[in-house]
């Protein structure tokens, strides 16, 4: 749990075939992770448009994580390879604009990796919480 007590808002995009199933497995095994993490199901990580990531930050998300099948295991054979390039470039650009690089992450979680899913979310939530509120990529009008 975060030291500063800040409860971040985290959007997790999970691909239907691996990571969403991995999240389900974490649930089946009752592995705790913070409720700050909210999952959006997409067919494949390659469905995640950089615009969605920015949108989440605009609306007040403090961290965005994209989870997909491990490279080479994509249900659609190559989707996550495109994700990997797109997000590498997007995250690099956000960093270039001075936005904390820890607020974005891509993680490969297979359907069998419930424990990894929970551990990833715990770690990510903690990291994001320690950064506090996202102030550099927010839209004040969207704040509560």
């Amino acid at each position: 749990m975060p030291v500063n007590g800040y409860k971040p808002l985290i959007v997790a995009f999970c691909c239907n075939w691996c990571s969403y199933a991995g999240a389900d497995l974490a649930g089946n095994n009752r592995l705790n992770y913070p409720a700050d993490v909210k999952i959006i199901r997409v067919p494949c990580s390659c469905r995640v448009n950089p615009m969605f990531v920015l949108r989440a930050f605009q609306r007040g998300a403090d961290g965005v994580i994209i989870c997909g099948c491990h490279p080479g295991d994509c249900h659609y054979t190559s989707g996550n390879y495109f994700t990997r390039r797109r997000m590498a470039l997007l995250f690099s650009m956000l960093d270039y604009l001075g936005i904390e690089r820890e607020r974005t992450r891509v993680e490969w979680v297979s359907a069998a990796e419930g424990a990894k899913f929970a551990a990833t979310m715990n770690d990510f939530a903690e990291t994001v919480a320690s950064l506090g509120e996202n102030k550099r990529l927010e839209d004040l009008r969207c704040k509560k």
Binding site: L54, R84, R86, A88, F91, G98, I99, E100, R101, D139
Partner: protein, 332 residues
């Protein structure tokens, strides 16, 4: 001053027009001011004779106009392309945006272009500019004696790191010397990367906050040629006519840079036309530099039909999580 004269170009165009080889000529003509040379379509030798301009202010990259004209006009169009413009032209061919059959592309050797903004910075009320071998004589309302600015001082940003390569994919090439490359175009990108995140944030906050969303960057960009831009599309979820706050300023420029990533030929038109002097090319060059270093050197438009890096992959690509460590290692 350009080594190839306007006469050479207009003469070539006129003879092709008269011979019926082409029906239109896409070139440049004078606008309101001497430094304001704009793209223009010519249909006759007379028009060319009267209005055609080729000088250090003929910066405009004409390739983008071919999308519109090859669709709406029914004859062959002669277009003049500087070496750097040919990359855009080629990239548009790769993306099937231009009907090659309807274009007669003529390569023009370029001796480097002038940046009107640099000239205007030191001179108000410009009435005329004349070119000399070494630079420009600027006549103003306020002084009888023209001010002098050297060619080096006035050189356009993109020309500082001129690709300096030969023309590609042309029907014909005018003989002549091509401007030689000089600076490393990624110097400024690397300098920014080496700043602290706070410094970077404030740098960009300062730059982008000046954006007035005039859309000039988008309209001039040869890669921004969408039938309908996502920022104009109510269903895209990001429709946005005017940026209301710092988020939207960033959103627009990040998405714009991302949309052209891997397709941007680094023609520099965006920064050239920005009335707010925002160094937009630094966003594009960031992506180009990242692409080059993560996935191997790639120059959009160099080879017609090449696969842009964002529609390609390698199973051994760098993980997003490795990007920063890796780059920090490179820059160290």
């Amino acid at each position: 001053m350009q080594k190839v004269t306007a006469k050479t170009l207009s003469g070539k165009a006129a003879s092709l027009l008269n011979a019926g080889e082409v029906k239109y000529v896409l070139g440049w003509k004078k606008g309101e001011f001497d430094y304001d040379i704009t793209p223009a379509l010519f249909e006759s030798a007379e028009e060319l004779e009267k209005d055609f301009v080729w000088n250090d202010f003929s910066c405009a990259n004409l390739s983008k106009y071919l999308i519109k004209y090859t669709r709406s006009l029914s004859g062959k169009i002669l277009v003049f392309l500087k070496p750097c413009d040919t990359f855009s032209f080629n990239q548009l061919l790769t993306e099937h945006r231009i009907d090659r059959q309807k274009v007669y592309a003529v390569g023009v050797p370029c001796s480097g272009m002038a940046d009107e903004k640099k000239i205007r910075e030191n001179a108000d009320g410009i009435t005329a500019i004349s070119e000399t071998e070494e630079g420009y004589l600027v006549h103003t309302l306020y002084s009888d004696a023209p001010a002098f600015i050297s060619k080096e001082e006035a050189l356009l940003e993109k020309c500082l790191s001129c690709k300096g390569w030969a023309h590609i994919a042309l029907d014909e090439q005018i003989e002549g010397e091509v401007f030689a490359p000089s600076a490393d175009r990624f110097d400024q990108v690397k300098a920014l990367e080496n700043m602290t995140p706070d410094e970077r944030y404030h740098f960009w906050q300062n730059e982008l906050s000046r954006c007035i969303r005039c859309n000039a960057c988008r309209d001039v960009c040869p890669a921004c040629t969408c039938e309908k831009c996502v920022f104009d599309n109510p269903n895209s979820g990001v429709e946005n006519k005017a940026a209301a706050n710092s988020f939207e300023e960033k959103m627009f420029h990040i998405i714009r840079a991302f949309h052209v990533a891997g397709r941007c030929t680094d023609c520099g038109e965006c920064s050239r036309v920005c009335p707010q002097k925002i160094p937009l090319h630094l966003l594009n060059r960031k992506f180009i530099n990242d692409i080059d270093s993560f996935y191997g050197e790639y120059q959009a438009g160099l080879d017609e039909g090449s696969r842009a890096p964002l529609v390609d992959y390698d199973t051994g690509d760098l993980e997003p999580s490795q990007v920063f460590d890796w780059r920090d290692g490179q820059n160290a």
